[in-house]
Amino acid sequence: MRNQRMELVNITIDGKTVEVEKGSTILEAAKLIGVDVPTLCYMNMGDMHIEHKPGGCRICVVEVEGRRNLAPSCVTPVTPGMKVNTHSIRVLNARRTVLELMLSDHPFDCLICAKSGNCDLQSLAQRLGIREIPYQGEHSTYRIDTSPSIIREMDKCIMCRRCETMCNEVQTVGALSAVNRGFDAVVAPAFEMNLDHSPCTYCGQCISVCPTGALTEVDHTRQVINALADPTKTVIVQTAPAVRVALGEEFGMEPGTIVTGKMAAALRKLGFNYVFDTDFAADLTIMEEGAELLGRLNGFLAGDKSVRLPILTSCCPAWVKFFEHNFSDLLDVPSTARSPQQMFGAIAKTYFADKIKVKREDLVVVSIMPCVAKKYECSRDEFAVDGNPDVDFSLSTRELAQFIKQANIDFNSLGDEDFDRPLGESTGAGVIFGTTGGVIEAAVRTAYELQTGKTLDKVDFQQIRGLENVRYASVDVDGFELKIGIAHGLGNARKLLEDVRAGKSEFHAIEIMACPGGCIGGGGQPYHHGDVSILKARAKAIYREDAGKSIRKSHENPYIIQLYNEFLGKPLSDKSHHLLHTHYFDRQDDVFVD
């Protein structure tokens, strides 16, 4: 946004004069005139206030007339009359040499690297036409760290420090820090232990921003293929709402393309016996969580002082682990409702297994998630019965795309197909779980009607949508002012939680998603390379999908109604508690144990 009163500065870049706001960087100015200076460590997701420009990689250096050395364009502010050359021989040589140096301390296993084809370092090497590495010498070598969700292969780290910014400043998780110095410097958990000995929440934001293959998700595709190939197993799949608005990107489609139908078709082609939808479980979550909210609210209104408000959503596993580590004194505040993934698993392995007469151990539940923390979530002990997990494997959006390609499926030419029933039917409320603010909006749609007995005419709560880090809204529930808060990104969540801890929070309900943007920006989504417009397009698509649904309130989902009638009874029933609710653990000291 150009503000007219802003002071303007004229500078010349590559012989072209450009007028830019005072305080802009050379990089920003260059962009305005179509000069694309390459960058590597730089990251700017302006709308979400995520900025990382340590000026460390030195790839974006340019020559500034009158300056002794080259200037990093990402952090050098323009000055009036500045003359910049972005491709002088001196610059080109320096940029190439710096990249050669980086590559001289980088493994040469591009062929088998998980990041191949999506790697910023690889693209840059291509772009600069690097064909040999003149500088040979010692390579940094580290033990590969495998945790339930994330693999750290720090041999591939180029010290851009993006992960560190995400982990510490954006997420305030504090699992990672730069350690050691000089050539030995690397980003690692405390004492260079594995991530599973750290307060890591497995949100995967480090993976989302890693420009190389240093941080990737644990790949479970192989196990899924094995299950599909096993004739004794019935393999069913559930797909999270945010997957359908991002998967298309992996096949060259515009961000925000909705591929729900193609995705169902592809999954069926891959051999899944039933293709279901996590959105169904999202509707179920609303039934349980909504009931819990109303229960607490009505207790509060009746003067019960023991009621804990606000209630916090609990569908994000990274967020759950975050508060188990950092707010273990507030474990009774979040809703006890399991996440949609786990509700789906529990219902699939009981209600649905009975329906199709398959034994629990012969039913394999696979989830497709925009997330890597979901891998960790389904491995948590409390979500297994006699060692058999409710959800067997969780694949990320990226893994699914890879799997589809591997199976020779021409995704783009697939026709649309529907989900199977009964666990494939969902409402618009279930869909919007995929973006920040969606869960609370879905909850309000249901809670309003259940509480007041009236029909909600206007289901679109525009005031709680958007990408602002922390959002507040109040909803008039028949004269009662329901105050809700929304935070995405764990750092923002921390602020709201600290208010709760201090007894200052005025909210009745708070929705929290660990990833900036919510699940659309999840750690398992196609790489957005720091481009916020991609996240915006995905969010829009989510709301489009919602608007296109005939039913938009969870409690109106006929198969949910059927599930309660046939199996669960009512929300918060004993059976619901047993299958759909959980409890939390104090993990504040649960790290660094050998």
Partner: protein, 592 residues
């Protein structure tokens, strides 16, 4: 009466011992040995004109004395009281003999400003500081001068930062003073990190109050009430003395609230460095003080805008501060009269390495390396040949014979391929291998690089590896090109001063000692005999008398031979420690 004979290495080499003996015997002949004592002294630092004989108490200074002159000195000077004119020092400017050494220009070579109190006062006693004009500058500033007037004075003095980069101090203060904020900080960089430099430590140990006083003056100028001294934890004595000094200043009311009843408040705290050379860079230093990793950040923003805890801060080093009270007391004009056109005042150097008078010196800017090394420093140790002098520590370069007469100031040193740095000056002789020296500095830089930016993190490592390869005898001519290109790129693209200057030792040795690189690469020889991989210890069969000393000292039993018969060294076992070489009294062991 006393006759002082120089016993420094240089003079002894030119027979000062014989002069001493002759003087003694002549005095005895004349029955004067009871009245007149002949005393051997340390080096006068004037070896060029040695041997020196000085007569006390009249301060007569005889130069280039020969043993046979002893008789004349006794006969004329001691007995008749007439000075021996022909032996008197000849002033090179007016060609007159100087009778009293106090009038010799030589003594003007060193002028102590920053070191004015070092070695004079008891640093743990504020009274001694006060009796030597201490705190008068502060008092003058806060009672009689406006902050801008003080800044103008500092600007007029031409004082530039003594930490190495040489930014004008007054200008720095002015910028910091103009940035409004509720809190500002004065920071003293006492994290002296150059290996072989100890100027700041000496000032803090010898004259801590001068730094305290200057910081308070700076605080007054920029509107800061808090000062922080970032000091190396490895300097326990300096820390202790500084603490004592701060306490004393507080007791006297020279720190704290309402100083001298003017309403001006200023106080100091110490912050400890923890062993990171890069923390000498001001942004890294500030991060370190904030409890973070000492990684530098890109400037702008400069500390003057956003420094410690995000507040405007001014960082100067110890020596810079130590100059301030003198400038205020004696005036900018006086200060600016010393030095060269663009570098005013004096500079403290820590003189070390293969030089006779290792020590701390302070000379006006513009003094030449020759004056420092051969006059003040007393020349090269053990009469060896001067090869190079390294200035500026790991950021500097090696200067050679051809730079000896260059007047030293910020700009000339940079033009010569080195830099002022904080003032370490390491002298090297013919036994020093310049490729190894470059490697030594790169080893240091690799160890001390913070790792934030690619060129410094990886580039210096690669530079080191190439240098190592050359010292192992495996270098190629292509490696020279690589060294040059890498050095230039590291200089051009590194984030902070550490990386921007770290290739200087490589580039300056490439420029000045290219032949040595060639010898390593093409002839597989290390001319200085330092590179172990390129040398072999061999026993000269003709010179060896079979004393067995070498065999006994060899730690790995690589030397064999019968008693009284020539020995041999098994080169396969030899670890090239050089113990035999040093032990052999017959010069029978040589390096091939």
């Amino acid at each position: 009466m006393h006759l002082l004979v120089c016993g420094g290495t240089g003079c002894r080499a030119s027979e000062s011992d014989a002069i001493l003996e002759n003087l003694q015997s002549t005095l005895a002949e004349n029955n004067l040995d009871g009245e007149v004592q002949v005393v051997k002294t340390g080096c006068f630092g004037f070896c060029e004109k040695g041997p020196i004989v000085k007569v006390m108490p009249d301060n007569t200074f005889y130069t280039q004395v020969k043993p046979e002159d002893a008789k004349e000195i006794v006969a004329e000077h001691v007995i008749k009281g007439r000075k021996v004119n022909r032996l008197l020092y000849l002033d090179p400017e007016n060609k007159e003999h100087v009778a009293d050494s106090k009038h010799m220009g030589f003594y003007k070579k060193q002028i102590r400003i920053a070191l004015r109190n070092c070695g004079f006062i008891n640093p743990e006693n504020i009274d001694e500081y006060i009796s030597r004009d201490g705190y008068e500058a502060l008092a003058k500033c806060i009672t009689n001068m406006k902050p801008q007037e003080v800044i103008d004075e500092i600007k007029a003095s031409g004082l530039r930062g003594r930490g190495g980069a040489g930014f004008p101090t007054g200008l720095k203060w002015e910028i910091a003073s103009k940035n409004a904020a509720d809190q500002k900080y004065v920071v003293c960089n006492a994290d002296e990190g150059d290996p072989g430099a100890f100027m700041d430590r000496s000032v803090l140990e010898g004259d801590p109050h001068s730094v305290i006083e200057a910081m308070a003056i700076c605080g007054y100028c920029m509107g800061a009430t808090k000062g922080l001294v970032y000091i190396r934890a490895e300097y326990p004595l300096a820390i202790e003395r500084l603490k004592i000094a701060i306490d004393q200043s507080r007791e006297y009311g020279l720190l704290g609230e309402d100083i001298l009843g003017t309403g001006f408040a200023f106080d100091l705290e110490l912050r400890y460095g923890a062993g990171a050379f890069v923390c000498g860079e001001e942004t890294a230093l500030i991060h370190s003080m904030e409890g973070l990793r000492g990684e530098p950040t890109v400037k702008p923003p400069f500390p003057a805008e956003k420094g410690y805890l995000g507040k405007p801060s001014n960082v100067n080093n110890v020596e810079t501060f130590a100059n301030i009270p003198v400038i205020i007391n004696k005036g900018a004009k006086w200060f600016a009269s010393l030095g060269t056109e663009k570098s005013k005042g004096t500079k403290v150097f820590a003189l070390a390495g293969k030089i006779n008078n290792v020590g701390l010196i302070e000379v006006p800017m513009g003094t030449t390396l020759r004056e420092i090394i051969f006059e003040i420093g007393g020349g090269i140790k053990d009469g060896k040949k001067f090869k190079a002098v390294q200035t500026g520590g790991p950021s500097g370069g090696c200067l050679t014979e051809k730079h000896l007469d260059t007047p030293i100031d910020y700009d000339n040193l940079i033009a010569s391929g080195s830099m002022m740095g904080s003032g370490g000056m390491i002298v090297m002789d013919e036994d020093d291998c310049m490729v190894s020296i470059a490697k030594y500095y790169l080893d240091f830089t690799v160890e001390e690089s913070c790792g934030k930016c690619t060129p410094c993190r990886v580039g210096n490592k690669r530079l080191y590896e190439i240098l190592d390869k050359i010292t192992q005898g495996n270098g190629t001519m292509e490696d020279i090109d690589k060294l040059r290109n890498l050095s230039n790129v590291i200089r051009d693209t590194s984030l902070c001063g550490l990386g921007q200057t770290s290739p200087n030792p490589v580039l300056s040795t490439l420029d000045n000692f290219y032949d040595e690189y060639l010898a390593h690469i093409k002839d597989h020889k290390c001319p200085a005999g330092q590179c172990k991989a390129l040398m072999q210890y061999v026993i000269n069969q003709e010179a060896c008398v079979g004393c067995t000393a070498c065999a006994r000292v060899c730690p790995v039993n690589a030397i064999s031979g019968e008693r009284k018969k020539p020995h041999t060294i098994d080169t396969a076992i030899c670890i090239k420690c050089g113990a035999c070489y040093e032990k052999c009294k017959f010069d029978a062991i040589f390096i091939n």
